[in-house]
Each structure stands twice: as C-alpha cells, then as structure tokens.
Symmetry: C2
C-alpha cells in the first residue's frame, strides 16, 4: 500500500536513472556517501513523513494555532512530537557539515527527502524548513561564534528559526522596509519595527526562536542598498550557551489563512519595550556579515528558498495526483460513450477519457515540476562542489536563470493539478472529508510567498535573461540544445519532440531580443508574467524530453507512462506557448494603455 | 460608495444599451412592465443584497451549519432574517405569474436582480434560488392542485424547495440511481432511497421543505428512461393546506465543504420508517407529470439552472474583481520599472503593469461572463415569448447550444478571476481577514455541480452541436456572422476583431466536422473538455465584440474600458484557441492510449 505522498519509484528514476546522483560521491564533500546511504535517508524521510507528519495534516488544518488567555500560541501537540522525531533522525542537519553534527548530504538528495514532508504535511514541515534555511544562511555568512551559538542548537532541534523580511506597509517592496537597527557601544544593535507574515514567529515548539531580521542602520544608503541582516533571538543566550532574558519582541497577532493553516503566521513587534532586557529599549540584535549587505545575503539564499517553494508546490501537486489516481481506480461511475447501455455495470472513473486526461495532465505537471526542482537542486550542488571553477560558474548561472521558473511554474501548474484532483473526485473532492481540497488551499500560497508570480516574471525577464550580456539564457540554450541533439540522434518521435523544443526555444530567444529592443523598460516588462509562463512551459518540455531520454530503450509500464506523459506535454502543453510568444513579440501595450480610470 | 458586489453601470449597459430589454414590454406577458419597473426591481435587489445578504457572508462561512444534540440543523440567525426580507420583497416570485402573486418579470431582468445576491452571499442565496427553480418546474409540469399546494407557499417564502438528483453511488450518472417509488392504491407513491449532495435538504428556515426527487418506479425501462419525478415534502400537507404529519425522510448527515459553507448540504434517507405516517413505511411522494419522464422535466429546467450556475460564477468573479480593483487603487507599494529610485514615494498597486494585467483579465472574464449569462437569460425569454414560433424555436436552439458554455466558461474563468483577485492582494488576499479567498473557495464548486466540466463538454460536442443535423451550431454561426458583418462595416480595429472572430468560428466548425468524421465516438469525444474550452473562448470573444458594437461612438471612461477589455480578450485570450483547435483537429488519441497501468 502506497502512502499516496510521492512515488519512490519516480524519485529513484529521477535521482539515479536520470540525474545519476551517486556520481556526486566522487567529490570530496560527499565521499562518505554511497547509493546505499542516499537510499537509507530517502527511506527514513518517507517513513517519518508517513508515520509522523501525514497523520495530523487534516487535524492541524482544522485546528489552526490560536492564542490562549495569556497570549501564548497554542497548537495541537502532534506538531511538536513530529518535529522531535524529525530532529532526532538528524534531518534538521541533513546538509550541514559533519563538524556541526550534519550528514553532509548533497542538496539534491536532501531536497528529495524533504519533499516527502512537503507532501505529507506542508504546515508542520514549514517549521524545520525555515530552520534549515536559516541555519544554511548563518553557516554561509555568520561568524564561527554565531554558528556555534545559533546553528548548533538549531541543528539539534532545540531552537527553531525564522526569516523576517516583509513589513505591513511593504510587502514585495523590500526597499521600503522601515525597521531600524541602532548600533550600540558593545557592538550589538537595538531593533525597532514591525514584521508581517512571519511564519513560525512565535510558538512553544522549541526553547528559543532565532529570527533573521532585515533592518536598516540609520545613515545608510536609501532603498535596498541600506538593508542589513541581524540575528534577533526570542530569548537571549548567555556566554555559556544557557538561556537568558527574553528579548524585546512582542507578538502583535496571528494571521488566519485559507490554507497552510498548521504553520502559525505572525505579526511581530521588535523593540516595543514590552520585555526590555537590562532596562534599555529595543530588541537586541547581532549583525550578520557586513552592514548594508543584508539583502545580498538573503538573495544568495533565495535561490534555495525559491526552489524549496517550487518543490513544495510539486509535492502538494504530487500527493493530490496520487489521491485522485487512487480514487479514479476504485470509484465506479457511468459508462464510456461507446457503451452507453445502462444494463452494463458502471466502470471505474479511470476508464473515462476525460478522467484520464485530468490524470495525465496532473502526472505531466507534478512529475515535471518535481524533476525541475531536483535538477535545480543538483545545480546548487554543482555550483558549490563541481570539479572545476568553470563548471561551478556555469551551474550557478544556469541556476540563476532557472530559479524564477523553478519557483513559479510548479506554483502555477501544480495548483492546477490540485484543482484537477478535486475535479476527478467530483463533489466528494470539494468536501473536507477527502484530502484534495486542503492540498488546493495549501498550494494557493505558493504563487504568493517568496516573491509573487509577478516578481518572478520581472526577475526572469528584467534581470536573469539579460545579466552578463545574456549569458544565462545562452547557457540555458546550450544545455537545451545538447538534449535536443541527443533526441534528434534517436530519430522518430523523440526527434520530433526535440525539434519542437528547439523551435520553441529559438522563438523564445528571438522574442527576448525583440522585447529588449523596445527601448522602453515599461514596454519590455509589461508582459513579464506571460514571458515567465512561456519560458516555464519550454523549460518543462525540455525536462520532459530529458526524462524520455533517460527512459529510452526501457520497457514496462513505468517507462511507458513517462513517455506518454511527455507526449501529453508536447501535444497539449508546449503549443500553448505559441500565442504567448506571438503576444510578447508584438510588444503589446494593452495593459500599459489601460487608464486606471477606465476600470 | 460602491457595494463592491456588481456594477450597476455595467448592468444598465448590458440590459439597456446592448440587449434593449425594454422592448420586451411590447410582449403581452410583460406589458405591465417598463424601464422604470425594471430599474426599481434592480435597485431593490442591490439594496437587499447589500444590506441583508453581504453583511453575514463571512460569518456564515466561519460558522457553517451544524447539528445540535437533537439532530436539528443549526445556523446563524442572519440567514433566516435575510430570507424573510427577500420573500417579503416578492423576489421569490419574481418570474411567476401575477395570478400566483408573482411579478411576471422577464427572466433576463430576474437573473440580473438575482446576480446581486450571488455576488453578496452565494451561500444564503442558494435557499431562495433552489426554491425558485423548484417552483418554476412545478409551474411548468405540475397539476393546478400541485401548484396551489406547493408553489404558492414557496412563492410566499413559507416553504422552501430542493432538487434531489444525486445518490452516493451515482454522482453524475443518473442512469444508476437506485431510489424507488412504489405506487399506492390512492395514487400516491412511497419512496425508498438515499440522496446525496442535497443543498438545503434540512433546516429550520421554513415551515416545510418541498423536495423534488428523482426515483424509479419498479418495472419501468432501465437507465435514464425509467426515471420519474416526485414531490416529497418534509411535512405532509392536509387538504385544507395546513401542515400534517412529518414525512418519512431522515437526515443522515451533513457534508462539510471547502466553500459555499453557508448552504447546508445534506444526505437524506427517504423511507427509513423513522417517521412513518399512518404506520405505512416509505416517504409519501406525488408524481409530477407522467411516469418515466422525470429526467426530461429536469432537463427542461436544466438550461435555466445551468445558466444560473454560470451567473453565480460570474457574480463571484465580479465581486472579487471589484474588491481587488479597490485594493489596487488604495494600496501603495513599490515603483514602476522606469522609476526605481527609492527616494520616490511608492505608487498605488494599479500603477504596476502586471497588476493592471490581472485587473484587465478579471474585467474581461467577469464582464464577459455576466454578459453571456444575461444573453442566455434573454434567450429563455425569447424561447417562451418571442412574437412568432420561428423566433421562439431559434432562440430555444441557440439556448441549447450555448447552455454548456454559459455554465462552464464562467465557472472556469471567473474562478481564475478570483485567483487573480487574491494575487492582486498578495499575502493579504490569502488571509481570511479579506474577502477574496472566500470567493475563490465558493467559486470552486461551480465547475462541479449541475453537471461537471467534463459532462458539459460531452453535452456540447456529443449532443448539442450535432442535434438536428448540426442546426444548433449553424444558428450560432449565423448569429456570430451577423455580429461580424456589423463589425466589418465599422472598419478599423473593430473590423479586425470581427475577422479574427470569423476565422476562429470557421475553424471551430471545421474541427467539429473533423471530429465527427473520426468514425469512433471514443476518439470524437476524447477531448470534449478542450472542445468546450475552445468554443467557450470563441463565444465570449463574440460577446465582447457585441459589447464593442454597443459601445460604438460613445465616449467616456466606461466605454473606453469596455473597448480595452475587448482588446485584451482578442489579444490575450482568443489566440489560446489556436493550439486547442490544432489538437482537436489532429484527432489526438493520447488520453485514449494511456493505459491505466501506466499511471
């Protein structure tokens, strides 16, 4: 009996038959690993996700965190228990150095393990995920002392972490954040400001909470160039590592969301004086790295965070797909058009062509999205550990250009997959008795957080495809061309797919040039969201062609399914980019010319 | 201050400047009406919806109906109060004959009035809406005595009505219903069976509930041809109209849904013996019309019910659009790409091109959907009251072919509009503090009930476009061609739109013939959902061109907005049909060839 979370068979195909991740063990950092250790941790992840995260997914949704009379955040006890199991298995430290108690796993393996948790219970999974991102950032940019003080307890699960970026008046626009950090004579800072949408911002799940906070040091440059990064703990830590006084951070309130309800989402006031340590006002903070470079540190982590969002969307899509597939196999209803005789017994839903279409679309979306996320995770590894600097730079460049797609495409299409999963269930799928409506509600967050769809479009068209003289897009083009060449060499249908992909990518390159020749950034960027969507479909078509190549010459239903999903993608999905590229190439001004008063 | 429900300005444009509904007053049935009476009832609807339905929309969502210790359905008291105001205003009898206390309103005006309620509170609106549909059916097919006994109290709001079609084992497949109706010596029937998804199936909102139940009389033909229709009241009514004993109907349970939570949704057992009147088991039912013709009666009402679903989807999309438009005007955030200087003040969201795109898309979807729904409602009037039989038949034929589109297109694209409304709000839109997430959850039901998207596709491609030798599609083509000719006569951009529409429709006609020449219904119908979507976009492009013609030569921001939304639709939306028609024309077999074991 499958857990209906992800398919281990598919993960094995992607990691081993396609990406051949075991070759990473030739690198020094991963030399202690082997196919066996990778398999073991994947199995561990599946088991813990199945046994400790999935069972309370609905419960946490129905009983979201709330405040008790004393203003404490109350949540169902299953969350804390699940996190303990997660931490005890060492999964909080999966990618960290052995010296920090970590497993030193490649990112691609670690992300595959974590996808089980995103599929099982995205609300509970958010607590360790934020902690891992926080710890990774501090390992990269913190001092050794900061790593000892904050990362070690996070790796052990004693502390949990957050990221505090947004403010109520400045959602996507970080240039406008108003939180300020006043330097103190002892080298620390005092922070004052309000942070919005802080997931895991306050709870009783851990001894302490390590907030990573973006703030401005007075006198710095305006806008994003004046943003610095601070560690601001809920509870101060003494020199010997023991817990000290409470820091001056007040919980203003909780946000109640459509989905993702298991993750407490908070508004926090830093420096209200409510719990002022030592009588001085302000929340005590410790600068990370250099002043005014906070956003660049965040951006270095952003690639991983955004790939994580994309994988989360893929995982939610995947589990919805498996749930609807199971339902379609067992639920008997109606008869196919060729056999309308009511005396015949009803057939399983899966016998209806339209139901198969909805399942095949889901399969194409979710397996494509998962594959894209794992590919990008491997690029994270390659950008850090590939054999030579050229390969590392190339991986970093490709990762940069793919990141907005790896974030947005799954968020859009795996949400659509969840909608199809509901549709396969009919009225039952719309009820809370079944699981799929929650996946749909949970997944609707993904096009919003970690940079909205619109922000990703601007990032791709406004920055990524033109940076370094368009080198990012060229590297992507070379990578795709290599795949196309292999496909053409195989001939037949695979070659046809290769040629269709090549045409689409050449068209994208041409349209990119047309857009940038407009001479007015407002015109160039007016339809950047549609550019993002077209580029996304072309990239995922390439990811599907890669899978066809990896399945080449292999028999059996699994490989036949891969080929059919690829066919679906090339026949039903890739052609959607035609009208999108036509529109983009026309330098359309419809939205620009829409006067606000005409609405 | 606008109510943010619908735009009265737009309704006036559609009803008067486009559809010229006042000309209906030349017909005998509507002779007592005038522009003034239509305006008065529209204003009445807006006011009651704004004052009595909208205020408890969120409350009803947060406090869905539940069972008390005695098994009674409990809901917030605002629902009953709102229904009383609705009934006292005479709106339950808007379309009914004056002899029944009705207003004898044209359907097109009545549906426009009701759209205010769908926008304000779709959950509470469902109670009167089901009652209206039930009453309309009984007026058409019931005996005068049945009309007196059941319709009069419904028109007065003393009784409410339901439709009981689905059963747990037979969702969309009505051929498989198992509820049976045993004839009794006194001419009544006793019903036995379980009905699923019964909205308003049990509550304390009215003195009685009039269930219209599909059931099979033993010995009848198999499948849908053996289905009969029965009135089965919750409480029996004595000869003098007073209430008698409770009928044998038991509430088995409530369904808890993702949205539409204000509408109690029930599972009912008919004939469990729990409340057997007179000691005999079974639920007492009264046959409507002739035996075995129940489904045809239902189908005659289905057009109106499906247009009602489409209008509900349009209304939810519309209110979401207006909410996000309001937010985009007041929320300051970020700067346009041409003015990235952080020293400049942030601008309203509406200044960002991508936000305008999301607003323009919503405008194109929701105004297009509302216009389509009103057009089809006018066809209902014309099919009944047009001057001559040819015109009536033609209207009925056009209505038949447009109905699956009028149901599905708004359900798909106004849900997408609600998603865009969330996106315009960013993180705030994902919280329950704002309204848009509820619209999205509520609207997700519309592609499911009253025939799923897949069922509508089969209805359009499998039945409607081929019935009467393709006469339905031809009449649609002639109607569209007339619009195109007017557009071409105007020249310029309008003529261009006309030619694009003509091309698309000719392509659709060709593809329809290709599909039907496949020689295998499984191949013909395999992609009927995509056929439905392509046909829907082409029809709505026509509806937009109609609006452009109605706005021709008129100045001011309202008309400029109409033209710009039409441009958006022709540039961004209509071209999407190209790849869809390519796929359909290729007689693609991808889904048919997908073996279930390959998933």
């Amino acid at each position: 009996m499958s857990s209906l979370l992800l398919s281990r068979r598919d993960l094995d195909f992607l990691l081993h038959e396609w990406l051949d991740v075991t070759r990473l063990t030739a690198r020094k950092r991963f030399a202690e690993h082997s196919r066996e250790t990778f398999d073991a941790v994947l199995e561990l992840g599946e088991r813990i996700a199945t046994d400790h995260f999935a069972p309370h997914n609905k419960l946490a949704d129905a009983h979201e965190p709330h405040l008790d009379a004393d203003g404490r955040v109350v949540m169902i006890p299953e969350v804390k228990r699940a996190l303990r199991v997660f931490a005890e298995a060492g999964l909080l430290a999966g990618e960290l150095d052995e010296s920090l108690g970590g497993m030193q796993l490649p990112t691609v393996v670690s992300k595959a393990v974590l996808a089980w948790f995103q599929a099982a219970n995205v609300g509970t999974a958010a607590y360790p995920f934020l902690t891992i991102a926080n710890a990774n950032l501090l390992v990269e940019y913190g001092t050794p002392e900061q790593v000892d003080t904050w990362v070690r307890p996070m790796a052990a699960g004693r502390f949990l972490g957050t990221m505090c970026l947004s403010e109520p008046q400045a959602g996507s626009s970080l240039a406008d954040i108003a939180t300020r950090a006043e330097p103190q004579p002892d080298g620390t800072y005092r922070l004052y400001g309000t942070k919005m949408w802080i997931s895991a911002g306050e709870h009783e799940l851990s001894e302490n909470i390590v907030h990573l906070v973006l703030a401005k040091i007075p006198g710095g440059p305006p806008g994003v160039k004046g943003i610095s990064l601070f560690i601001v703990p809920k509870v101060l830590v003494n020199a010997d590592g023991s817990l000290g006084e409470r820091n001056d951070i007040a919980l203003v309130g909780l946000n109640h969301k459509m989905g993702y309800r298991g993750t407490v989402n908070t508004v926090l006031n830093f420096g209200e004086g409510a719990h002022t340590p030592g009588g001085a006002p302000g929340a005590v903070g410790y600068l990370v790295g250099e002043p005014h470079k906070g956003l660049s540190y965040m951006f270095h982590m952003m690639n991983e965070a955004r790939i994580g969002v994309g994988l989360g969307a893929a995982a939610l899509g995947y589990t919805g797909y498996l749930h609807s597939l199971e339902y379609a196999k067992v639920r008997l209803q109606g008869r196919p058009p060729a056999a309308k005789d009511p005396a015949l017994p009803p057939v399983p839903l899966i016998e209806h062509a339209d139901v198969r279409r909805m399942l095949l679309a889901q399969k194409a979306y979710v397996e494509g999205a998962l594959a894209l996320g794992l590919y990008c995770s491997l690029l994270v590894d390659d950008s850090k550990t590939a054999e030579d600097a050229v390969a590392r730079d190339r991986a970093a460049l490709l990762l940069d250009v793919l990141t907005p797609i790896a974030k947005s495409w799954p968020s859009q299409w795996c949400l659509e997959a969840n909608s199809l999963a509901i549709q396969v269930h009919g009225g039952y799928g719309y009820t809370r008795e079944y699981n799929v409506e929650q996946f749909y509600r949970d997944n609707r967050l993904n096009p919003i957080h970690e940079g909205t769809h619109g922000i990703q479009g601007l990032d791709l068209l406004g920055r990524k495809v033109v940076m370094k003289n368009g080198m990012g897009l060229r590297v992507l083009g070379e990578t795709i061309s290599a795949t196309v060449q292999c496909a053409i060499d195989l001939g037949g249908e695979t070659a046809e797919m290769g040629r269709a992909l090549q045409d689409a990518f050449e068209r994208l390159t041409l349209v990119t040039a047309q857009l940038w020749s407009a001479g007015d950034p407002a015109v160039t960027l007016a339809n950047s969201s549609i550019y993002l969507e077209a580029a996304g479909h072309i990239v995922v078509a390439w990811i599907w062609l890669e899978q066809v190549l990896a399945a080449h010459g292999k028999d059996g239903p699994f490989y036949a399914g891969k080929r059919q999903a690829a066919r679906y993608f090339f026949r039903y999905e890739l052609p959607k980019t035609g009208p999108q590229l036509d529109l983009l190439g026309s330098l359309d001004r419809t939205t620009l010319e829409m006067d606000p008063s005409w609405f």
